[in-house]
């Protein structure tokens, strides 16, 4: 190796180290600081590639689900959420799985078991609100599921305690929380909830 080539390599390494140091020293915003506080040591160590590693875990989650190994799939999901807990899409993916797949009448005939899985989905969304980059999106999604999906299901299928009225009331609370967390287009879902409440009142339910 010539002296010139060695110098060029050293210069490149020093420049890269300087760029990395400057990027790391950049002041963090309040939500970033809060998110960083919740990071595990591995997530901190991996830094920007934690998100890519989480994507790999999500791919393995889907593969395990395809193989019918839900225990392994949940392991990959937990690991993905641990690696990149700021990714809102991850929390939505897992909640979707609980609410729409595990709680499906095709998988669970017992309404009590179905309700348990649905509550599990909402628990995931609620956990995500403490960690994700867009917590308002998660709260609004919980409201949308309750108002536009669960409240429309026939009572005999799911038997949610309190029926559609209770679900709409919970959805309204979720929506208020979503608004306080900075979610956009909350009014659309709120208008839908009010319309549904009027319909139920007209039906005397």
């Amino acid at each position: 190796m010539t002296v010139g080539a060695q110098s060029a390599r050293r210069l490149l390494a020093v420049t890269a180290a300087l760029v990395l140091a400057l990027a790391a020293a950049r002041p963090l915003s309040a939500p970033e600081l809060e998110g960083r506080r919740r990071m595990g040591p591995v997530q901190r160590l991996l830094g920007p590639i934690a998100s890519a590693a989480a994507s790999v875990e999500w791919a393995r989650y889907l593969g395990a689900l395809d193989d019918g190994d839900v225990t392994r799939a949940y392991g990959h999901a937990a690991r993905a959420l641990s690696l990149d807990s700021r990714a809102t899409a991850g929390w939505l993916t897992l909640a979707d799985h609980f609410v729409f797949i595990r709680a499906s009448p095709l998988e669970e005939a017992d309404p009590e078991a179905r309700r348990r899985w649905i509550r599990e989905g909402f628990a995931v969304l609620r956990s995500g609100e403490d960690r994700a980059a867009s917590p308002g999106v998660l709260a609004r999604y919980a409201a949308t599921i309750k108002a536009a999906f669960l409240a429309d299901l026939p009572d005999e299928g799911l038997g949610w305690p309190g029926g559609p009225r209770a679900l709409l009331s919970e959805a309204r609370e979720d929506l208020e929380r979503a608004a306080s967390l900075g979610a956009e287009e909350v009014e659309v879902t709120l208008a839908y909830i009010e319309e549904r409440e009027r319909e139920l009142a007209e039906q005397g339910r």
Partner: protein, 365 residues
């Protein structure tokens, strides 16, 4: 064999940066498993996950470690003959050692260095494996695949239909398990169904809403395994060979040693190819070509009977899956070792042929 040259090649094939890099990535992958408190905080149902957390961490560590080790292996192995041509031919080529002896020692060192990377991954992933788990998967005996059986293709059982598979007469210990791969299928009344598996007086029922295993204790001395579709939907038995018999295993290190041997064969295969090709072309191109050849072979053989004979192929994937399930991989098949040996011979022939013109011309000039 020139031992000094062998040691030099081993150090060059697995330099400190490679050893540390592989160890760091494997450790990061193994340690990245979320803790119990964190899992339960996300969702109480995630308690289920804790059952296999240690095994999952170990399998992830193996995958991450092997990906990095493969890249390091081809890169550093391809550079060894290049150095001979660039600088070292002046003294190495004029030494008393024959060219065959130089290539033999260089290749043996390269393969040994590659195998050292596998040892490092195995030590880290293996110690993380069962030590990190505390669920039912680690409470039972360690199992390994004893036998595959069943039709060579998938087929469907309509409601009320029954499938029977006779297992050959052989003595199995009481802890042996038999499992059958099933999935819901179209063609009957419901989209999902229920299945009943029977074996030696033992029965088990399962609602089949997605691909799943029907599992029951295996008959101790052969006999019939029967699967009956007792639901209203159609039930597919997923071939080929949907019936698996698992017996207790005495594999060392909970099967990590067997996986380590498979990983070492994979890395030796890549190292030998990169070494041989590196004698004919630049190290960067040789490294990329080695990986491309392996990947091409893997894709070409994917659905053939020879898929298990390629180091780093289907057998390695199955072995890592077995570790993730808390089970032991099978013993390394002779075909796998033969293919790795073939790659080493090919690497030797390529490098030896290239050295035929050594000292008469220089590739770098």
């Amino acid at each position: 064999m020139n031992l000094a040259l062998l040691r030099l090649s081993a150090r060059r094939a697995a330099p400190t940066v490679a050893l540390l890099g592989v160890a760091a990535i494997t450790l990061l992958a193994a340690a990245g498993q979320p803790g119990r408190a964190e899992i339960v905080e996300v969702s109480p149902r995630f308690e289920e996950v804790i059952v296999s957390a240690g095994e999952l961490a170990a399998s992830t560590a193996w995958i991450a470690g092997l990906v990095v080790a493969s890249a390091f292996t081809v890169l550093f192995a391809a550079r060894i003959p290049d150095r001979w041509f660039q600088h070292e031919g002046d003294w190495l080529g004029t030494s008393g050692a024959s060219r065959s002896s130089i290539v033999r020692a260089g290749l043996a060192g390269t393969v040994a260095g590659a195998a050292a990377l596998s040892v490092i991954i195995g030590l880290i992933a293996g110690s993380w494996g069962r030590a990190g788990s505390a669920g039912p998967a680690s409470e039972g005996p360690l199992l390994e695949l004893a036998m595959l059986a069943g039709p060579s293709r998938s087929f469907v059982l309509m409601p009320g239909e029954r499938f029977e598979q006779a297992l050959p007469e052989r003595t199995l210990p009481p802890e042996a398990r038999v499992r059958v791969r099933v999935a819901p299928a179209l063609g009957a009344e419901g989209p999902t169904t229920e299945a009943l598996i029977e074996s030696a007086g033992q029965t088990s029922e399962l609602k089949v809403a997605r691909q799943a295993w029907l599992e029951v204790q295996a008959p101790s001395s052969g006999g019939l395994i029967a699967v009956t579709n007792i639901g209203s939907g159609a039930l597919a038995l997923m071939g080929p060979d949907p019936v698996e018999v698992w017996r207790p295993s005495s594999a060392l290190g909970n099967g990590h040693l067997r996986l380590g041997v498979q990983a070492a064969l994979h890395l030796a295969f890549l190292a030998a190819l990169a070494f041989g090709l590196g004698a004919w072309m630049g190290p960067g191109i040789a490294a990329c070509l080695s990986l491309a050849l392996w990947l091409g072979a893997r894709m070409a053989l994917a659905s053939t009977g020879a898929a298990d004979a390629l180091p780093g192929g289907a057998a390695l994937g199955a072995a890592i899956d077995a570790i993730a399930e808390g089970r032991s991989p099978q013993l390394v098949r002779p075909a796998l070792a033969l293919t790795a040996a073939g790659a080493v011979l090919a690497g030797f022939a390529l490098a030896r042929t290239s050295l035929g013109t050594w000292r008469r011309e220089s590739r770098s000039s």
